[in-house]
């Protein structure tokens, strides 16, 4: 028991989560106890794990061999800087979500609270396990168990048919991905039969097989991360799950896919090809643009956030693609810059997306509505939910001084360095790529204004909203934790950059740490201070100073009187809450400009209708382009194969006899 190194503490935390989950199973029906004691305990463990992750980034690499698992197949685990960073992010996210869940799961869902507790903590434990896994066996086991528990969490409200369907879709796509991953690890371990990561690292694959491995891993991890075209489960599963689960899934389960891609590309496959980078970059951009355009036309608040997650994953993937491009040309310093941007976005997206989903959870609990067309004006009734949601929305829109802006800033800086690429064709494509990224950022701000404005501002669109009650004490704690995380990521980018420097050193061999440290803790300088710099703390201080000064001067020199009355509304004699923009209305300009991105069916009223109505349905085009044809083909193939089944025993016996004859003949050769 002496000499416990860092990795042992992490294993203790994982075991703690499993134990808490089982404890919840024991007290399965006692909702109050489970919610108010067990979930906060899980949150405390999350803080513990996050701290361990933070220490682990600066510690040397550690490995351990666990005697669990089958005889002769022990678990290899390893803690390096990449795992520690992701553990840090997991710690932050899980703490906030756990504290929120303490208040959320106090109400009855279809599944007993103790069962949810078991599934939730098992999911957390599996995610932590796969982050420190060092061989393919542990990795796939943790991966599969994570998918399984996540599916059960998604169908927590299983009495609803839509929820069951969403869970099934999630499970299906997760297994398509897992199949690709198994194939991938199979190829990696094929030559030597050694499936440990240490053994795989020593291998030298030729470029053909390495490309196959890369693309298989892109499919496999992409299915989990929600990359085009395997994103189809995201807009169904994230809204169907209870809000804290959606928060956890959006904030971290998607990131395990990103972790997998990073681990595979930079750690297990040593060299990269520029074509991989180009394809990843293109895929990332397409995902980002698609995600944000579809999120502008949604009318369900959770689907809007789900599509927004797709967009952010696309941005991270684009950053990773650029990193692969740079590192395939040997430009390690620039690769480190874009990798830092991508990893920074992993953390800030985790913080703001979980905050936004938790906000919707609060709104859903107090109003029972998910449809944006029936919400509105909730800022008056739920200020404790509205203000954190505002912080989350501003961060999600990529606005300074929050975290989302810093990662976008770093990504744009790395794009501006690209004229150094040896390939002139790629050089010239960079302006277009930069343009798309900037467009995505601007649309993200549009989406967030729609989200926050329609839910929390304006007039309530339904009368029952007047009775909405605000979030409870546990929920407020969850919100505050994540708000502080969002603000810290925005104001302390230098510390984050120093931490990420260690991670990028591991993955691409260089880091921006030297340049960043030279500027001090206030100034973020990616290259040289003459080139670009950003000081978020000074920015915020001066902005606040200007606002406060303006307020004070105006009130001193003039006066501060104000009077309340009805709204001006351009002098119209009456107005109702229905005269505000609906969610469809707010997204209409984008729908008009980007019409080719979706399948839209409209029913317009005609002059002869007794009761004219207007209906519009916007659908994801991938259903009709990709998935329905695949399903139809599968159905067709099965029906053809079904011809083999006559239902008569004689025919089946004939099959067995024929197979036996065939095998005998083959052995004869």
């Amino acid at each position: 028991m002496a000499n416990l190194i860092l990795i042992d503490y992490i294993l203790i935390a994982i075991a703690g989560w499993i134990a808490i989950g089982v404890f919840g199973l024991v007290k399965i029906r006692q909702t109050d106890f489970v919610a108010q004691v067990i979930f906060p305990l899980g949150g405390v463990l999350g803080i513990f794990l996050g701290t361990l992750g933070l220490i682990g980034v600066f510690a040397p690499v550690q490995t351990e061999l666990l005697p669990l698992g089958l005889p002769g197949l022990p678990f290899h685990v390893r803690l390096d800087t990449l795992s520690s960073y992701f553990l840090f992010v997991l710690g932050i996210v899980s703490t906030g979500v756990s504290f929120f869940s303490a208040g959320y799961f106090n109400k009855e869902e279809d599944t007993p609270a103790g069962l949810i507790c078991l599934e939730y903590h098992l999911c957390l434990a599996c995610m932590a396990m796969l982050l420190i896994a060092d061989d393919a066996y542990v990795f796939m086991m943790a991966w599969e168990l994570m998918s399984l528990t996540a599916t059960f969490l998604v169908i927590a409200n299983h009495r609803d048919a839509e929820v069951r369907y969403a869970g099934f879709l999630y499970f299906l796509i997760a297994h398509v991905g897992a199949l690709a991953l198994v194939l991938c690890f199979g190829i990696l371990g094929a030559n030597t039969g050694d499936y440990t990561f240490a053994g795989i690292r020593l291998q030298q694959l030729n470029m053909f097989w390495a490309s196959i491995v890369f693309f298989l891993s892109l499919i496999g991890f992409g299915a989990k991360a929600g990359i085009l075209p395997l994103h189809i489960w995201l807009p169904e599963a994230h809204p169907a799950a209870p809000s804290p689960i959606s928060a956890l899934m959006s904030a971290f389960v998607l990131k395990t896919g990103i972790y997998g891609i990073l681990r595979m590309t930079f750690d297990l496959l040593h060299t990269q090809d520029w074509k991989w980078g180009g394809i990843t970059l293109a895929l990332g951009l397409a995902t980002a643009l698609f995600g944000v355009v579809l999120s502008t036309v949604q009318t369900d608040m959770k689907r809007l956030l789900a599509y927004s997650s797709i967009e952010n994953i696309g941005l991270i993937l684009a950053g990773i693609g650029l990193t692969i491009l740079f590192s395939s040309y040997g430009m390690a310093g620039l690769a480190a810059l874009s990798l830092t941007a991508a990893l920074f976005h992993v953390a800030s997206h985790a913080a703001f997306k979980s905050l936004l989903f938790l906000g919707t959870g609060s709104v859903l609990h107090s109003t029972g509505e998910r449809n944006l067309g029936r919400l509105g004006g909730l800022m008056r009734f739920m200020p404790w939910t509205a203000w954190p949601a505002l912080v989350g929305a501003l961060a999600a829109g990529g606005l300074p001084p929050f975290g989302g802006f810093v990662s976008e800033w770093l990504l744009l800086q790395s794009f501006l360095f690209t004229p150094g690429l040896p390939n002139s064709f790629l050089n010239m494509l960079i302006p277009i790529v930069t343009a798309v990224i900037v467009l995505v950022g601007a649309l993200a701000a549009y989406v967030m204004v729609k989200f926050f404005g329609i839910i929390f501002l304006g007039q309530p669109r339904e009368r029952k909203l007047n009775e909405a009650h605000d979030a409870g004490i546990w929920e407020r704690m969850g919100f505050s934790w994540l708000v502080v995380a969002c603000i810290c990521f925005g104001l302390l980018p230098v510390h984050m950059a120093r931490m990420l420097d260690r991670v990028t050193h591991l993955l691409v061999g260089d880091g921006i740490g030297a340049a960043v440290t030279a500027g001090g803790w206030l100034l973020l300088v990616p290259d040289t201070s003459g080139r670009a710099s950003y000081m978020p703390v000074v920015f915020v201080m001066v902005l606040l100073a200007c606002c406060v000064l303006a307020y004070v001067i105006v009130h001193r020199v003039y006066h501060g009187r104000s009077r309340r009355s009805g709204p001006w509304a351009c002098g119209f004699p009456f107005w109702t809450a229905r005269m505000q923009d609906t969610a469809e209305g707010f997204g209409q300009p984008i729908r008009h400009v980007f019409g080719m991105f979706f399948r839209m069916t409209r029913k317009l009223p005609s002059e002869f209708d007794k009761k004219p109505y207007y209906e519009i349905k916007v659908e994801d085009p991938f259903w009709s382009l990709l998935y329905r044809p695949i399903a139809a083909t599968a159905g067709f193939v099965s029906s053809v194969a079904g011809l083999l089944q006559h239902g008569r025993i004689a025919v089946y016996l004939l099959y067995s006899f024929l197979t036996l004859m065939f095998l005998l003949l083959v052995i004869n050769q």
């Binding site: 002139s424 064709f425 010239m428 494509l429 277009i432 400009v593």
Partner: protein, 219 residues
């Protein structure tokens, strides 16, 4: 940046690219003809400049010929055609303007990439502008493709010829005078023939939309 003439040539090349893009996005036919005139003026100016720099006197003749034909004669003919045939003043495109512009940018990238290694070999004072000339040719081809009215298509064809002339003067100090005269004759003849066609189409269909021609195919 080497010397004033090189800079002015670069500026003229950039102006040419700008005008071609503006023509791509222009809806009104009369403005299109005016832009085509400006296009011709820019090409003439660049030919004069290169002729002055390299003391190549036959470029002066080429420039004069282009001025007479492309800047004065053909726009006058086109104006007359528009008024006589009472053509609709505004044209809709087959694909919308933003997508056209996007495809235009991709074409520009392709053209620039093809031209880069060639430009490195050339020794003329305007070597960097070969890419722009090639881009003009590709963009005017696209203008012919996406317009559904005969007159913008004619202008696209003439712009393409402008672009080729510019490419010739930029990369190789101009084509031989005989070739120039031949090309000018072909252009005038071509315009007259197309004008004749337009009268015939107008007589049959009362409209210059080429979609009408499609109804003539055998079924």
């Amino acid at each position: 940046m080497t010397g004033i003439p090189s800079q002015i040539l670069n500026l003229l090349a950039a102006l040419l690219l700008l005008l071609t893009f503006a023509m791509l996005g222009q809806r009104r036919i009369l403005s299109l003809i005016n832009l085509f005139m400006l296009h011709g003026i820019v090409v003439v100016a660049s030919a004069l400049l290169i002729g002055y720099e390299t003391s190549n006197h036959h470029l002066y003749f080429s420039a004069g010929l282009t001025l007479a034909v492309k800047v004065m004669l053909i726009p006058w003919i086109l104006h007359k055609l528009v008024f006589r045939l009472k053509v609709k003043r505004e044209v809709e495109t087959l694909i919308n303007v933003s997508v056209t512009m996007l495809i235009g940018i991709v074409l520009v990238i392709v053209a620039f990439n093809i031209a880069l290694p060639v430009a490195a070999l050339s020794s003329s004072v305007a070597s960097g502008t070969l890419g722009i000339a090639l881009a003009c040719v590709l963009l005017s081809f696209m203008m012919i493709l996406v317009r559904s009215n005969a007159i913008p298509q004619v202008i696209g064809y003439l712009t393409m010829e402008n672009g080729l002339f510019f490419a010739a003067t930029a990369a190789t100090d101009g084509m031989p005078l005989l070739v120039e005269l031949g090309v000018a004759l072909a252009v005038i003849g071509g315009t007259l023939v197309v004008g004749l066609f337009m009268f015939q189409i107008r007589e049959h269909f009362d409209d210059l939309d080429i979609h009408n021609l499609e109804t003539r195919k055998e079924d």
